[in-house]
Symmetry: C2
Subunit: 364 residues, 2 copies
Amino acid sequence: MNNALQEAFDQSKYKLTGHGRRNIQVLKDAFEDVDGQLDSDLYGEGKVIEDFQDKMAAFLGKERAVFFPSGTMAQQIALRIWCDEKGLPKVAYHPLSHLEIHEEDGLKELHNIKTTLIADETRVIELEDVVSMEDSVACLLLELPQREIGGQLPSYETLEGISKYCRNNGIRLHLDGARLLEVLPYYEKTASEVCELFDSVYLSFYKGIGGIAGAILAGGEEFVTKSKVWKRRYGGDLISLYPYIVSADHYFNQKSNKMPLYYENAKELADFYNSCHSVSTLPKIPVSNMFHVHFPQPKEEIETVLIEVMGKTGVGLINHLRATGESSCYFEVSVGDRYGEIPIEAVKHAFIQLDECMRNKFPS
Amino acid sequence: MNNALQEAFDQSKYKLTGHGRRNIQVLKDAFEDVDGQLDSDLYGEGKVIEDFQDKMAAFLGKERAVFFPSGTMAQQIALRIWCDEKGLPKVAYHPLSHLEIHEEDGLKELHNIKTTLIADETRVIELEDVVSMEDSVACLLLELPQREIGGQLPSYETLEGISKYCRNNGIRLHLDGARLLEVLPYYEKTASEVCELFDSVYLSFYKGIGGIAGAILAGGEEFVTKSKVWKRRYGGDLISLYPYIVSADHYFNQKSNKMPLYYENAKELADFYNSCHSVSTLPKIPVSNMFHVHFPQPKEEIETVLIEVMGKTGVGLINHLRATGESSCYFEVSVGDRYGEIPIEAVKHAFIQLDECMRNKFPS
């Protein structure tokens, strides 16, 4: 059934989510204008990696930055460094943090670092959660936006308050900024203004930026020097990371200025969903390019609806759907380049159809 | 001074070592004929990664294989799995193993695995070293060829003896086969015949094969399944590994059948070095495409000689040189495609010059 949803999405003329298909053309486009005579990086050294690291350090307002194959690796290492600094193998983060649910417990298995989960699965971490923590921790990780709850954000004042509290209480503050660029339009801040509140920052290149893979970890001189030793230990200090670096740079240049557009489009798209019978988004008004779409009906029934609407309208709504229980389900929307390429009339038509179909199938 | 050596090498018309420059053209060539519409792998799944893993499993004669970003990651994980299986966090390997000298103690820092170093820095591990080990270990790692001593090999009978002993004594045997293909012509065996002696095998794609980066870890079904969990924990389960996979496949197809040629060329080239005054290779007769060239003179003086010979002849001998003390030095030679592209007269001329220059500078 999930395959049928993917197929219906693939066959749609227009697609509401993402930048485009994750295929090899993404690499070909990134390398098309790059001189083949440019030398590879070599175990973390060389122009191609050093230039990009310098560019990202400046962009994030940090002393130094280091390119990693993945955010999983970069973030575990950041937390380990802060734990070692304090001699306290304990960190705090949200119960739906990437480290808690997507990394097979790497942090615990590889570093024996204990975790304190703060806030709960329905909301973001607030200052009060941090102040009232009973455990002593070396580091607090904040994920902006909190992806697994639709990409919600604390207020900027909350961020400032948490940052101040952590600095006053000897707690390092790390930013899971996988989607950092995507939240800047809502905060109306630059990347370096946000990063200034944090001791270390991770940024991903294959979410909103649309690269192939790879991540940047940024912070002070000493922190970054240590992170390179750990990168070697992890087997992340590859002889050549340029396939990810060149593409990260290419798509960063292409997409980093488009985040305000994606944000505006996400608000418009969420509005379309919320106009449909029995459909709601989380958050109701997006604060980045992403949100979740919830249905108080079983996954199987909603799949039928989505496939029908996509077939009728040629507008690809989504390619995946997750049950949240026996009688409800949701999907995640990430707005990228594709949304802007669709005639608005086609989008409107699709949502009129979705609304009708929901009313017919689930009359209240 | 090392820069001067690199410059002299770069400016030489011909180059005796390697396949070519490690530049972005290596990627461009690999992707030139690949359809841009081919989908990316996705967190270890999809045609591009699964097909290559199946191909490598078959080539190595193992049940399954998994693609890793690096051998460092793959091998630490292999050893961890075998240690967990036996409930004994201890492994044995050569004192100049990659894990011991190039990985910032990742195995110890990330897994708390203890190591027993067997044999010594001048020779390969023999059956007697294994039989006389006092410590109980979960796994023995053999590196074929032993790179840091010029790429030496035990006899095939020794391999068979070690394999039999390990199986009879409950010790897992892991192959550091970074350069496995390069030793097959000497052993006159297929890859799967050699791998049959081992429980798990790692193969690299950027040594003799000439790819960009990446590695295969192969073994039984259960072993490989566990390795994928650890790959996720390490942050090695990238959303897209295809830049390395496509290039690994491309260069594997291009170079895997050329290993006998590289081996023959290496023997010829070593012979040229050994014909020069005060120059010797280790091993004297290579057993793969690699060997070391030793000089009983200080590094600075040999650099002068090498730069002079390269300048006079246009033949690039080498781009690096390492001191082994105050009064001796060596460099590593890896024979690849470039050697075969040089007119033999130019090679001969270069070694006549090297011999003359050594005689003049260091009359005995």
